[in-house]
């Protein structure tokens, strides 16, 4: 039985600039893995590489044993990988509801539909017909998460979902997380807030200047080890 996601020797470029060097990482079905690291460490590049927005060597990324590293983003999405991108990036010409519907347009079967999403984030139902970009930052983040869930993914990746949001909103969103991850969903969470990252994850990976500098169980890693891995001191 292969791991759900297996990354081996991933070198990724962002334009002319190499952002990842030989990254190795595995994610087993049902776990929540946190990816931490300073700004520019390569976290977003890693997310974009897994989701197919950056295309690499086919064998560098394997999903359920299939080489997906060279696939286009829509092909990766069709296999059940969803990304909540950094900065939310909602479709501004679409209403809240349309943003959610388009997330589910591949028609993958699963527990998530509009009804359940509205139960999870009732405010979105109230504002379903307004343009998505007319919402507050926290509500937009709910739409971005909802849009990813609507595709009924097996692997959900969330890139800096608390960036720029008020602490109250962040707490709300993270309180919803267990309910989301509970049903057999596997998740990768990219987070600047290390305490938050450790509390929601079972394993943690730290990136530093494009390389994996630490990898271990979230409960086991010490503060010291993290700060060494984080800052390289």
């Amino acid at each position: 039985m292969p791991e759900l996601l297996e990354i081996k020797g991933l070198d990724a470029r962002y334009g002319d600039f190499q952002a990842l060097y030989g990254v190795d990482m595995t994610v087993s079905a049902g776990e929540v893995v946190a990816v931490i690291g300073a700004n520019g460490a390569g976290k977003t590049t890693l997310m974009r590489s897994i989701s197919g927005l950056i295309r690499n060597g086919a064998d560098m990324v394997r999903y359920r044993g299939n080489a997906i590293g060279a696939l286009r983003a829509d092909q990766v999405a069709a296999q059940g990988v969803a990304l909540v991108p950094e900065g939310r990036l909602l479709f501004q010409s679409l209403s809240v509801e349309e943003n959610l519907i388009i997330g589910g347009q591949m028609g993958r079967k699963g527990p998530w539909n509009l009804r359940r999403l509205y139960d999870l984030f009732p405010i979105l139902e109230e504002r379903r017909n307004v343009p998505a970009t007319a919402l507050s930052g926290g509500q937009q983040q709910m739409v971005a998460i909802g849009r990813a869930l609507m595709s009924n993914p097996d692997l959900l990746m969330m890139d800096e979902i608390s960036l720029g949001l008020a602490p109250v909103i962040i707490r709300q969103i993270y309180e919803a997380l267990p309910g989301i991850v509970g049903e057999g969903l596997t998740a990768i969470v990219v987070e600047q807030d290390i305490a938050k990252a450790l509390s929601v994850s079972s394993r943690v990976i730290c990136l530093q200047e494009g390389r994996v500098s630490l990898s271990g169980k979230s409960g086991d890693v010490t503060r010291d080890a993290i700060s060494r891995a984080y800052f390289g001191v």
Partner: protein
């Protein structure tokens, strides 16, 4: 009364121009592509209808049943095989490639059909007319105008109320994120061009029934469509219809003043509107 008649005829003519423009407007909205060969594709449709109508002995209206899907298929293939390779931040490749395409289509039509003017013969309906108060209106121009209103209404509905329209708008907003939703950009663009050329086919057949055409008239049709888009305001389909009507009226009124003044009057009105309202009369898109 003559002036009123000129305005009425111009309004009806504007429907045809709006159809030239609707396809341009659609592909610009979805993928920011301006197709220099658009006018030549309109003329190509007219010639295909001619071949189908003469070959099968059909009325050109019935030839639409073949020409519209055929042009849609050509559009999809053209986008997937050629134009998608030119899409990016640089405007030069799409411009120059569609420019080359324009020259190819024009000369291919010359080779196959010669430079002799042709016309699609729709039969008695061409000359039929009904009285409207003190004026008379031709049935054919009314059909064309009604078709234009229908096409624009349909495109509007498709754009704002269907899954395909949602995909178009999402891709237009953020190509990469739309890809994350499982939308293959290359396919979405192909569909946009297919719909564009389906509308183009309709426009071409109506053009061929209203006036005679030859392989060289495509450029002017592109310009008329483009003027209607800019007058109406980018990204607004109903505005495009208004733009077409304004252009049509300017031309018929211009012709009334002096026969040599017809086309020139349209261009001058366009340039005036560009000078006074550079974003068009009803802009929606930046």
């Amino acid at each position: 009364m003559d002036w009123l008649n000129a305005i009425l005829q111009g309004t009806l003519l504007g429907g045809l121009y709006a159809m030239f423009a609707a396809g341009l407007s659609l592909i610009f909205g979805v993928m920011r592509l301006v197709n220099i060969a658009h006018g030549d594709l309109i003329v190509l449709s007219a010639y295909l209808a001619l071949t189908v109508a003469v070959g099968l002995g059909l009325n050109p209206m019935l030839a639409l049943v073949i020409v519209v899907p055929l042009m849609a298929a050509i559009g999809y293939a053209l986008q997937r095989l050629v134009l998608n390779r030119t899409m990016g931040d640089d405007i030069l490749p799409p411009l120059l490639v569609t420019f080359g395409l324009s020259v190819i289509i024009q000369n291919a039509l010359l080779t196959v059909y010669t430079a002799d003017p042709q016309k699609l013969n729709a039969g008695a309906i061409e000359t039929a007319s009904v009285p409207l108060g003190p004026l008379t209106v031709g049935i054919m121009p009314v059909i064309v105008f009604a078709a234009a209103v229908g096409v624009i209404g349909l495109l509007q509905w498709m754009f704002y109320h269907t899954a395909l329209g949602r995909a178009f708008r999402a891709t237009s907003d953020r190509q990469d994120i739309a890809q994350l939703m499982g939308l293959n950009r290359a396919h979405v663009f192909g569909l946009a061009m297919a719909i564009c050329l389906a509308v183009t086919a309709l426009a071409g057949v109506f053009l061929g029934m209203r006036t005679s055409f030859d392989p060289a008239v495509g450029g002017t049709r592109l310009i008329f469509g483009f003027e209607a888009v800019i007058i109406g305001g980018l990204g607004n389909l109903w505005g495009t219809l208004a733009g077409g009507v304004i252009l049509g009226v300017a031309q018929t009124v211009g012709a009334k003043i002096h026969p040599g003044f017809q086309i020139l009057a349209g261009h001058i009105v366009f340039l005036l509107i560009l000078a006074v309202r550079p974003r068009g009369l009803f802009p929606r898109m930046d």
